[in-house]
Symmetry: C2
Subunit: 213 residues, 2 copies
DNA sequence: TTTTGTATTAACAGAATTGTTAAACAACTT
DNA sequence: AAGTTGTTTAACAATTCTGTTAATACAAAA
């Protein structure tokens, strides 16, 4: 089964993976500047020389993480656009719900991505062209669908981008501010699972009332 | 007029102030870890030895900034609670508007505060006790006012903390995500001033429709 | 069993960054 | 003018962190 010359391939993959997992955690909580390769190595249970052996530099290790995370962020963002085969109100309701769930399962993601873009904008400038084209197309479609639904009297007329920003705001901020709000909100956030369910319902309600006639 | 032994007091204050201004900008955009004392000194037009002469350590300089920013954050947050002497709907409408304006004039503040708390939670644990007490009191009052307004049929019954989180989400996220959304939203955000006015109106509308019967 | 390529360790090198210090300097006081 | 005090500079010390290297262990293939 094993075709590597010397080391068990699974073991190697496990070590690489453990470093990646530790790196992900370190980078996502502390950012590039705050992360320490020694601390990542320690958390992964390897010497820091090994980390460099596998990933050469901190920068390269970071890039592995960042690539994956940016893709994931794009994917989760698209979830908020909803399924265009559904009736508009259902589409928006499930869009909000799915986006919330997506962010809930990657709670550190948005803050990380935003921080990266703010602290090193030049590094990500190349993404803009591509992202903008995709987004423009998607929005044109969504806006047209909204306009039609509004004409049929199913919902109010509203700017698709504005609605989209509201969905992102409500869902993402919940998790960005979580560590900050939790100690302050006491009872309300005492039971995490229950709070998240309530918050999700509240965000859906807020958006649905916004589009109600 | 000048009572300092050797240096013009105003000049000294200016130097201190210039360092503080440069430090504020550096810390708020790059965070503690990303900030460089040499880079702060350079931006302030002094040698880095001078920075240490005035503020001893990076840590102490940072604390000056952080203290002020945390206070400002608390202040701006309270704005969202609104003026309790107003009728409830007016109170909420102006609360949202004032909070938006506050954040608009300190756009880097929320991200900075949140990042600090996430990346070094132990450092700010001592704030929780105090903040929680204040918040509990304020919310009890707000919730009671909301309950009364709901009984009078002026608005829907809603959990005050949930409403508050929605206001914070909508207003703060607008500015946290600004550098991230701007290149993608093209036309909508082309004219900053106009976009902010529209976004403010949209956030108010979203909250007002949420509390409408 | 020798060979070969990979994995691992420990020690070290280099760079960047923070912080210190001694000496020069400027301004004010007496 | 001499002394005092606070400011500024330049050089340097110390630390921390990233990255390298040389030696070694190890496992499989020949």
């Amino acid at each position: 089964m094993l075709n590597s010359k010397t080391m068990d391939t699974n073991q190697r993959q496990n070590k690489e993976k453990e470093i990646l997992t530790a790196a992900e955690n370190e980078f996502l909580t502390k950012g590039y500047d705050g992360a320490r390769t020694t601390s990542i190595a320690k958390a992964a249970g390897v010497t820091h020389a090994m980390l460099h052996y596998y990933f050469r530099t901190k920068e390269q290790l970071f890039e592995r993480i960042v690539d994956e995370k940016f893709r994931l962020m794009a994917e989760s963002t698209l979830a908020a656009l909803g399924d265009s085969s559904l009736p508009m109100k259902e589409r928006i309701r499930t869009g909000v719900a799915n986006h919330f769930d997506f962010v809930a399962s990657n709670p550190l993601l948005p803050r990380f991505v935003i921080n990266e873009i703010v602290s090193r904008p030049e590094r990500y400038a190349f993404l803009h062209e591509r992202a903008k084209t995709i987004i423009d197309t998607l929005y044109r479609g969504l806006q047209a669908d909204i306009d039609r639904a509004a004409e049929r009297g199913e919902m109010v007329q509203i700017n698709a981008k504005m609605l989209f920003m509201s969905i992102m705001s409500l869902n993402i901020f919940t998790f960005i501010a979580y560590p900050f709000m939790k100690p302050l909100m006491g009872d309300l956030m005492a039971d995490d699972e229950r709070f998240l369910a309530e918050r999700k319902a509240e965000n859906i309600e807020t958006i649905m009332k916004r589009i109600e006639i």
